[in-house]
Symmetry: C2
Subunit: 332 residues, 2 copies
């Protein structure tokens, strides 16, 4: 079932059918309707590859990220899809590992598709990846973090500022011996950590032994390890700032198991405000990132480029400290 079949049925040339679909305004209303009817009757669906080859544009937007399987991704994904629906664009999700070689391979492969845009999550630090992105044959949006110089467009959160708000909150609540734990140390984590170091150093409270990085298939399994390591370094530990809500919740659960009183004995704070955070007991204080809007707006920016309206300035979506029970104690 091809364009030609439709054309024959209607008695026009294939290019007219093509136009009826792609540039409806260039075909008489009447003819267009006849054509669309025929298309419906015959069940014609345009061939994706032929279109991409002839027009040198696949109408495909790649979403490359190492977090596709993470708990923060679903709302981002929903935002992207809500905006892209009926835009004629296809979305191609690509999981990236943390290996630069692999990412380069994936990017090159993706470029071979004549993509209409790339959304890349997190910011790659390897200069080869950065170079490749700079030469991308399509608009590139980096999302999640904007405290780092952008390659093309960028949207997200100023993680340095978010980190400062979190650590300031813990200090305001009277916590003094505060640990920092993260999973893999990527750019957002680095930015949050810098604020942590800076503020605690200012207060004369910084202890490098209280900064730890942990990893496992399942972040929820790390609660015990985090507490063990931090308490070994500082038996009087009174708070933990976690780079992600998953880890913070792991700590909350472990505190319950050990009978550690949160927030009085130990304050706990995370980042992101995932679905679980409002409902744990005690509920988790966190810095909320507007994840749905992140996806929606990033998609919007890509689509806007085609209309010639391109954001050149990084878009700061802001964040919000959500104070909940895991740090809600009387100021000492």
């Amino acid at each position: 079932m091809t364009l030609t079949d439709v054309a024959v049925k209607v008695g026009v040339s294939p290019i007219t059918v093509s136009r009826a679909l792609n540039r409806p305004e260039k075909v008489t209303d009447e003819l267009r309707e006849t054509i669309l009817e025929a298309i419906n009757e015959l069940g014609y669906v345009p061939d994706f590859a032929a279109r991409a080859l002839a027009s040198r544009n696949s109408n495909t937007i790649g979403v490359l990220s190492s977090m596709l399987g993470s708990s923060i991704f679903p709302p981002v994904m929903k935002g992207i899809e809500d905006r892209m629906r009926n835009s004629g664009m296809r979305i191609q999700y690509v999981n990236t590992s943390f290996c630069a070689e692999e990412e380069i391979r994936l990017l090159k492969e993706f470029f071979a598709q004549n993509p209409a845009g790339i959304m890349i999550g997190g910011v790659q630090v390897d200069p080869r990846v950065t170079d490749l992105l700079r030469q991308a044959p399509c608009p590139v949006i980096q999302f999640i973090d904007i405290s780092y110089p952008a390659i093309d467009m960028a949207i997200g959160v100023d993680n340095r500022a978010a980190g400062k708000v979190a650590i300031d909150h813990l200090l305001a609540k009277g916590y003094r011996r505060i640990g920092f734990c993260s999973g893999r140390v990527d750019i957002p984590v680095t930015m949050r950590l810098e604020s942590y170091k800076e503020r605690l150093t200012q207060e004369g409270l910084y202890n490098p032994d209280l900064v730890i990085s942990v990893s496992a298939e399942n972040p929820l399994s790390l609660g015990g390890e985090i507490l063990d390591r931090l308490l070994a370094a500082e038996p009087d530990l009174d708070a933990v700032l976690c780079s992600h809500d998953d880890l913070a919740i792991a700590v909350l659960f472990e505190c319950q198991r050990r009978g550690i009183d949160v927030p009085y004995q130990l304050g706990v704070c995370g980042f992101s405000d995932i679905d679980y955070s409002a409902y744990t007991v005690p509920s988790l204080t966190t810095v909320r990132m507007p994840l749905y809007r992140l996806g929606y707006s990033a998609a919007n920016m890509i689509l806007r480029v085609n209309e010639g309206r391109k954001h050149t300035e990084p878009v700061d979506l802001g964040f919000e400290l959500i104070e909940r029970d895991s740090t809600r104690r009387d100021t000492q």
Copy 2:
């Protein structure tokens, strides 16, 4: 940068370069090496669309599911990608809504890509969707549930049997007034629910008012509603079987808030064994589904079809009751 550019550089015809890539055994070792070198030097990457058009095969495998954003999907995704890596196949994830019209549209659009295979999660009940899948131009694997007749291939879990194991466990633990709550009622849920009804009816314990369905953007928010509705129907409720761990955990959290003693006052059991389930306090009894293997094996089945080795029988991956603290009480 095209095949021809490489061919010119090496001094052969384009088709030879094509063969060096796709049928390496049909080209002299020496020549092949020269060609591969040139490809590397020039940074040539095959054009995806041209390939798909000429060969009438996009080497793309679609993963269509309404659960791409759910907490059970990440391990499935990882399994799929681990198996597909270096297979030359591309994976296209497509979020389906629960609307049949929309799914039909998405399927037709996807068929226009000359796909190499389709993995479709959950089983669609609409006959139009089923018909469309039966006429698919590629192998189709239904995954997640196999207690329903398969269209082509199927892999997953017998949810009817899993439901029976769960309800039997609750009965064995002495629970008698057992509620069932689910989110959207899809095929797996229906199957689990049937076992629940059947067993409780056998025991003379079935009460239709204790079967409820709830929904919200965030399943974690539903703990209060679930308990309210079930307790209103049966003030002496002593257990809840949830169609998914997310909901069960929402119930656990709400019990903590209300001071309801789990497992003594109320037993709680879920399905899937997601990352959180082993670490909540109390930990959650659940029926573990081999999600990683589900993805890996489904991908494997698709790839095997090309080698002419096709599973026609549904593949039952089995499941396992994981008894944890949310039902661990002395049998009464």
